[in-house]
C-alpha cells in the first residue's frame, strides 16, 4: 500500500511538474466525502508573500501525490478554480468537525483531519478524530486523538458521517501504526464479504 498522508499536512506542499518546476503550492485539499476521494486542491503561489492563486488542480490532473510534492505532468494541469471550488463549498465544511457515528448508532468523535492514500488513487482511507468517551474507555485525563479507518460504505449527511462499527476495532494512536491497522481492517472486510 502507498504511504498515508494527513490532508492538513498537505498544505504548503509544492506542486511540481515532471519537468522539475514548482508551479504552485497546496492551499487546501478538497474532498468528495461521499465517494471517499480527493477531488482536487486549491492553490497558492510559492513564497512568503504570495497569496491565493486563481488556479486550482483537479485530481484527474495529478500524476501522483507524495509526502514531499504533488506531481503533475505540466503546468497545463492547472485549471479554472470553479472546477474544484464549487465542490469544496458544497462539501468540505461537512468533513472537518463532522460527527462520526458507527452504523450501530454510537458516537465515535469528531473529524480533525482526513487521511488520504499517496500515489495516484486519491482515496480517503480514514480520519483523525477527537475521540468521544465511548471509544476511549478509561482515559478521561485528556482528549484523545486517534485514527479510524473508513469503511468502504460511507454515509455522509448534514454534519455527520457514518462508518462501520467494525472500523472502531482498528483504531490507532499514530500514523505509522494506522498503516498496519488499515491493512488489517481491509483484509477483515474482504473476509466477511466472501
Amino acid at each position: 500500500m502507498n504511504e498515508l498522508l494527513a490532508a492538513r499536512s498537505l498544505t504548503t506542499l509544492p506542486v511540481v511538474t515532471l519537468g522539475g518546476d514548482a508551479v504552485a503550492q497546496v492551499k487546501d485539499t478538497v474532498f468528495d466525502p461521499a465517494a471517499g476521494r480527493v477531488t482536487g486542491f486549491t492553490l497558492s503561489g510559492r513564497g512568503l508573500l504570495s497569496g491565493p492563486l486563481k488556479r486550482s488542480l483537479p485530481w484527474s490532473a495529478v500524476h501522483a501525490l507524495g509526502p514531499h510534492a504533488v506531481m503533475i505532468r505540466d503546468a497545463l494541469a492547472l485549471q479554472d478554480p470553479s472546477t474544484v471550488v464549487a465542490r469544496r463549498e458544497a462539501q468540505q465544511g461537512r468533513v472537518l468537525h463532522a460527527k462520526v457515528l458507527t452504523d450501530e448508532g454510537a458516537e465515535v468523535g469528531t473529524v480533525l483531519d482526513v487521511i488520504v492514500e499517496g500515489g495516484a488513487s486519491g482515496r480517503v482511507v480514514g480520519f483523525r478524530i477527537a475521540a468521544a468517551k465511548a471509544l476511549m474507555q478509561g482515559s478521561r485525563r485528556r482528549r484523545h486523538r486517534v485514527y479510524v479507518p473508513r469503511g468502504e460504505t460511507l454515509a455522509v449527511s448534514g454534519r455527520a458521517l457514518v462508518i462501520p462499527a467494525d472500523a472502531t476495532r482498528y483504531v490507532a494512536d499514530d500514523l505509522p501504526a494506522f498503516v498496519a491497522r488499515v491493512g488489517a481492517f481491509q483484509a477483515g472486510q474482504e473476509g466477511t464479504a466472501s
Partner: protein, 138 residues
C-alpha cells in the same frame, strides 16, 4: 567516465591559438535526452560567463578543455545547476540531493547521478527544472 566535480575549474583553451578563455564553471544538462548540451565558462579576467554549445568543444581532458570556437550559440536553454539540487521521484517522494554527476567526456552522455543513497542511472531521469530533478520511481 568523468565527474562534474572533476570537470569544474578546468582551464578552457582554444584549439588553434591555445589561448586561455577561462575556467569551466558548470555543465548544462538536458534530462530528457540525458546529455550535456552546453558548458558555461567564466573568463579569467573579465569574470564574464560565456555559454558554449557541446558541439563547440574539441575535447574534455583530465587537465584542460579544448574548444574549436568561442562563439556563443544563438539559443541558450535555461541552466539548472545539478549539484546540490533536490531530487524528487515521480511519485512525489524525495531522494535527497544531487551530489555529483558522472558523464562520458567523449560524447557528453550522462551515465549516472550520484546521491547519498546511491547512483541513479541516466535512464531514470524524467525532467530537470528550477525546483527539482524528477526521476522515475525504482
Amino acid at each position: 567516465m568523468m565527474l562534474f566535480s572533476e570537470a569544474r575549474g578546468l582551464p578552457v583553451l582554444t584549439l588553434t591559438e591555445a589561448e586561455e578563455v577561462g575556467a569551466l564553471r558548470s555543465l548544462t544538462v538536458d534530462a530528457v535526452s540525458g546529455v550535456v548540451t552546453h558548458v558555461r565558462v567564466r573568463g579569467r579576467h573579465s569574470r564574464r560567463e560565456t555559454v558554449l554549445a557541446w558541439g563547440a568543444l574539441h575535447a574534455i581532458g583530465p587537465d584542460a578543455v579544448l574548444v574549436r570556437t568561442t562563439a556563443e550559440p544563438a539559443e541558450v536553454p535555461p541552466h539548472h545547476e545539478l549539484p546540490g539540487l533536490r531530487i524528487l521521484t515521480e511519485t512525489g517522494d524525495t531522494l535527497g540531493a544531487v551530489q555529483d554527476v558522472a558523464f562520458e567526456p567523449e560524447t557528453g552522455r550522462i551515465e549516472a547521478v550520484v546521491t547519498a543513497h546511491g547512483d541513479l542511472p541516466a535512464d531514470r531521469l524524467l525532467g530537470l527544472g528550477d525546483y527539482a530533478l524528477v526521476v522515475r520511481a525504482a
